[in-house]
């Protein structure tokens, strides 16, 4: 996959639910999931995001997006974190997006 970005999650009961949330948040995106037992690599070309809303739908209404940090062992690409979503993308893509949205993360 070219320009692959995305998270690497450590082993845990909730990884599949997080992957389902990521799939909801990135429709029409080719997502590749590599399961190596103790870790799971989730990748998409150029950009991948996950929102608190989808995480709550899959993991329960009290799930806070910061809790994803307990599972996130690594990632490729650059990360942006807000209270609503986490985005992984490459520098060039991010610069374009920031220029388009006037600096909103």
């Amino acid at each position: 996959m070219n320009n692959a970005v995305g998270p690497v999650f450590r082993m845990g009961d909730e990884v599949e639910l997080v992957v389902a949330a990521i799939e909801d948040d990135n429709p029409d995106t080719e997502i590749e999931v590599t399961d190596r037992g103790a870790y799971v690599r989730v990748e998409a070309p150029d950009r991948l995001r996950v929102t608190q809303e989808s995480l709550r739908r899959h993991l329960g209404p009290t799930f806070e997006i910061r809790q994803l940090q307990t599972m996130l062992s690594a990632f490729s690409g650059r990360i942006s974190t807000t209270s609503e979503e986490i985005v992984w993308e490459w520098g060039a893509g991010r610069r374009e997006r920031l220029a388009r949205t006037g600096g909103e993360a």
Binding site: N3, A4, V8, R10, M11, R36, G37, A38, Y39, R66, Q67, Q69, T70, M71, L72, S73, A74, F75, S76, G77, R78, I79, S80, T81, T82, S83, W90, G91, A92, A105
Partner: protein, 508 residues
């Protein structure tokens, strides 16, 4: 009550910078520690971290991580999980505990240096969290390793190793002192968080967790992958620092990354390489060391530095070729000089192992097979003594690892070549061109004699193997040995190696 979102208030509490009236900026951020160099002081105002965290979030999240890691440990403590681990896998963990525990503590000092001398308040804030992270890592590593001291004294080197003059300790101190202690914070942020923590630690803490879990060591897999979730956050101090440095001084940025990359690659070939390709039992190996390196370093890390506008390091060809040789030679060295290490290295060259090695590394038999055959024949002849060291290998003046890397010559033969240079009348020897080049450029700041230098200077007495082991702090209950030589028995029927013929007809 609706709380403000983090992004609505964080900049107010985080960006605590002010203009000094009693002292000048240089007094607060001296160049030798803050290291702005060619970057204008004002350029650091744009430093902004990507992976944000507030203190309340930090405390809640860290508490959850700790609770989970210790819950697994407590549950497994009552099982016989440890007794069922193979000696080979246990060696991977002993090497990890001794090699890592106090490096984590050294990283506390590195993070604190950035928390004090970093050139932007957001950076200093993030480094303060980094220091808390590294305290956790030093403690959890020490605590998990300590559990086994009563069962096996080699685990005592979790805490002891870094304080000894063991050659591994000298090698690691030399690398990490240059990465965290003797440098300024700009170089530190690029060497430690960026190169080491977003690159190489993934190999030892995430990739190796896959082998750990396959080997049945749930506790260890759980601990190391939990540690890396902290690294994933505080490693993000590297990106914004690099972005600013690349803009104003790309040559320095490239050099600092190249140097840290090379030092890390050498150290990981010695530690992670043997753990993945030899100590992890063959049936449990998730991928080869080379494959894990391709996944985490070749693909992921190189893509990252290219994203910041930098190139692959100048030594790329030598490094890539080394993926097929460095760790195999170092594994053989660790096994041969086994009394100098604090674990029991499995030779891991059974027929099944060799088939796997040959498949993963098509030159393995050509380069290493005949050397292991000599060892196999000696073991099967009941002559284990012939497989034990009588002296020391030559150690590289930069990485302090044995000079043992075979390269393929134009004549089609594999040879270990000497890479040397003479400076001020002293000839120094290096394991690779990369080590020689870095030493030359950094020669005015390096002052770490190898064990060989110390031996030749008469610092190690008596000048024999016993004296060397004593100098390294190794006691008979800790020094390494093959856990079970029976592995060689399956080769008993092989035609043994012809004794070497030397001039005059005598046999050597």
């Amino acid at each position: 009550m609706t709380l403000l979102k983090r992004e609505e208030w964080q900049h107010l509490v985080r960006d605590v910078d002010w203009t000094y009236s009693y002292v000048d900026d240089e007094a607060v951020y001296p160049e030798w520690l803050s290291g702005t160099g060619k970057v204008p002081r004002a350029a650091w105002r744009t430093w902004e971290e990507d992976y944000k965290v507030s203190y309340p979030e930090y405390v809640s999240t860290q508490r959850e991580k700790e609770t989970a890691a210790y819950a697994v440990k407590a549950a497994l403590q009552r099982s016989n999980a440890f007794d069922e681990l193979s000696e080979g896998w246990k060696s991977s963990t002993k090497m990890h505990y001794g090699g890592v525990a106090l490096v984590e503590f050294e990283a506390v000092l590195g993070e604190l240096k950035m928390a004090r001398f970093g050139l932007n308040p957001a950076w200093r804030n993030m480094a303060a969290f980094g220091a808390l992270d590294e305290i956790r890592h030093a403690q959890i590593t020490m605590f998990f390793g300590h559990e086994f001291v009563g069962r096996d004294p080699q685990y005592d080197w979790t805490q002891k190793m870094f304080h000894t003059n063991d050659w591994v300790a000298i090698s690691l101190r030399s690398l990490f002192d240059s990465m965290m202690v003797t440098n300024n914070v700009v170089d530190l942020a690029i060497q430690l968080p960026l190169t080491f923590e977003t690159g190489f630690t993934n190999l030892q803490f995430v990739a190796l967790s896959a082998d750990a879990l396959e080997s049945g060591d749930v506790n260890f897999a759980n601990m190391i992958s939990s540690i890396q979730t902290d690294e994933a956050r505080h490693a993000q101090q590297g990106g914004p620092t690099l972005e600013i440095l690349v803009e104003h001084d790309p040559v320095r940025a490239q050099w600092v990354i190249d140097k840290a990359f090379w030092g890390s690659a050498r150290a990981f070939a010695a530690l992670t390489g043997p753990a993945m390709d030899y100590y992890t039992p063959v049936e449990h190996r998730k991928q080869s060391y080379r494959e894990f390196m391709e996944e985490w370093i070749i693909d992921q890390f190189i893509r990252t530095i290219e994203d910041y506008g930098l190139r692959r390091p100048w030594f790329w060809d030598e490094f890539m070729k080394g993926l097929d040789t460095w760790h195999h030679a170092l594994h053989m060295g660790l096994w041969f000089w086994r009394p100098t290490i604090w674990w029991r290295p499995t030779a891991a060259v059974t027929k099944a192992d060799r088939e796997w090695l040959q498949e993963k590394y098509p030159n393995w038999e050509a380069v290493y097979g005949d050397k292991w055959d000599v060892i196999i024949d000696a073991v099967n002849a009941g002559n284990v003594e012939a497989t034990l060291p009588e002296t020391l290998p030559w150690l590289c003046s930069l990485c302090h690892l044995p000079c043992c890397n075979a390269t393929l010559g134009r004549d089609g033969r594999w040879r270990v070549r000497d890479h040397s240079l003479t400076h001020n009348g002293v000839t120094y020897h290096f394991c690779t061109n990369g080590c020689r080049q870095i030493w030359w450029k950094d020669k005015d700041t390096l002052n770490s004699p190898t064990v060989i230098d110390r031996f030749l200077a008469g610092e190690i007495q008596p000048m024999d193997v016993g004296g060397i082991l004593n100098y390294m702090g190794l006691t008979p209950d800790v020094m390494g040995d093959d856990p079970d030589y029976a592995w060689a028995a399956e080769y008993r029927d092989r035609v043994t190696t012809t004794p070497l013929q030397v001039a005059g007809g005598a046999q050597a």
